[in-house]
């Protein structure tokens, strides 16, 4: 069914997180891209913007809806994946390669789920 890479951490709002040194890389999960359907537009913050745990940092428009994206960490944006602005469908094609934001100076994180717990969570959503 869906892909849940073991090396990533996940949230119940369907973001994935990967830690690279002090930087947190954030994207959306395979389950999320499938639930959203074809993504037609992505709104992302700018470098140096602050993000806060469980607060919206951007949104995606799919053929189904506009949906908020929630930050799994509090910190400062150090990179934004600008490829997505020109080609939002990349999120459907490969949600794990196509990250959304990178966050540094992280002061807080939510309690992440590991791949197995996240998969269980998704399956319980029906």
């Amino acid at each position: 069914m869906f892909n849940y890479p073991k090396k990533l951490m996940y949230t119940e709002t369907h973001e994935w997180v990967k830690k690279e040194g002090d930087i947190y890389v954030v994207g959306i999960s395979d389950y999320a891209q499938d639930a959203l359907g074809d993504i037609v537009f992505v709104n992302l913050p700018e470098v140096d913007d602050e993000v806060f745990v469980q607060e919206p940092f951007g949104d995606v428009e799919s053929v189904k809806a506009v949906s908020d994206l929630y930050s799994p960490v509090s910190g400062v944006i150090c990179a934004v994946n600008e490829d997505l602005l020109d080609n939002p469908a990349l999120l459907n094609e490969d949600p794990y390669r196509n990250w959304l934001i990178k966050v540094e100076d992280v002061s807080d994180t939510e309690e992440f789920l590991d791949a197995e717990s996240y998969q269980q969570f998704c399956e319980s959503q029906g």
């Binding site: 037609v40 537009f41 919206p56 428009e61 809806a65 506009v66 949906s67 908020d68 020109d86």
Partner: protein
């Protein structure tokens, strides 16, 4: 009836809805074009024609395409928490309401309600902490205006935005002659109550917050797009020469302008630039100079028919 206030109220209610509740907000806008969150207004709406009829440009925070509203249209907003959100239930509530009015409607594709394949209702959705499912219900909309405002020349260049899909439309009044917006409202509320069978609760409205949100919806930057200074290219042969114009708009002001012409007066482009830069693109531009060349170029800038 003020579209900006209505959207502010809708957003407020979406944020304020208590858990385990469902809300139906019914509202109407006077003459306006409402575009989707990620659309380019210049691509979707004939702003000049609409503004000359006192229509208002509006951007909403849900996705999808451009729609025309007037008082022949009734808008609905279903607001529920995530757990109880069901687009299917909401559609069923509308279909049941219409049944009470002797109208048989069905769901078409993802986002439309239709009667005999003709659309009278377009829907859009927002997933925040709570979920919003809203849409139009055409009772007696001025279809001429609808076509007039939503038809835009395709010569315009805009880049990466979400485009509208054109549909054949029908007014509910064409199916049930006697139908009024008031009756439709009543039927929807009854159908909503029947479906949920919930006790009624009151939400206290924070008027200052609504005012704040209204201002946000009214901001030119929000309506016209914050980063999208947009490029247009037009050309025309006049009796006095051929003109090619490229210009960009920011918040509907002319932010960049280049004019190339083979006319004999070589100072024309510079003079025009001096007059036009940073001015709003509207009919007031005619008043700055009486020269034929100037008037012709303003015609070119303002009128789609020249293309």
């Amino acid at each position: 009836m003020n579209p900006y206030e209505n959207l502010a109220m809708e957003e407020y209610l979406t944020d304020a809805l208590p858990v385990n509740s469902a809300l139906l907000f019914l509202w109407q806008n006077r003459n306006c074009v409402v575009i989707g969150k990620n659309q380019n207004i210049y691509d979707e709406c004939n702003l000049d024609l609409m503004k000359s009829d006192e229509g208002k440009p509006v951007r909403r925070k849900t996705g999808g395409g451009a729609v025309y509203h007037d008082l022949g249209n009734l808008n609905f907003s279903f607001i529920t928490d995530k757990k109880h959100y069901s687009k299917e239930s909401n559609n069923q509530i509308i279909i049941n309401a219409l049944k009470r009015l002797d109208i048989t409607a069905e769901i078409s594709g993802r986002n439309d309600l239709v009667i005999r394949k003709q659309k009278f209702s377009g829907h859009a959705y927002l997933n925040k902490r709570n979920c919003l499912h809203h849409g139009t219900l055409m009772v007696d909309v001025d279809k001429n205006k609808l076509a007039k405002y939503l038809t835009v020349s395709k010569e315009k260049l805009s880049g990466k935005h979400v485009s509208s899909v054109k549909s054949r439309v029908i007014n509910l009044k064409e199916v049930n002659e006697k139908l009024t917006v008031e009756e439709l409202k009543k039927a929807l509320l009854e159908s909503f109550e029947d479906y949920y069978q919930l006790s009624v609760e009151t939400i206290v409205i924070d008027a200052d917050r609504i005012k704040q949100l209204t201002q946000q919806y009214q901001k030119a930057e929000f309506i016209y797009g914050k980063n999208s200074s947009c490029s247009f290219h037009k050309s025309c042969r006049f009796v006095w020469g051929v003109v090619k114009i490229s210009y960009s708009l920011k918040d509907n002001r002319i932010s960049e302008l280049e004019i190339a012409s083979d006319c004999l007066d070589s100072s024309l482009p510079e003079e025009m630039q001096a007059i036009l830069l940073n001015k709003q693109l509207d009919k007031n531009l005619y008043s700055y100079s009486e020269r034929t060349e100037y008037q012709d170029i303003i015609n070119l800038l303002l009128q789609e028919e020249y293309l």
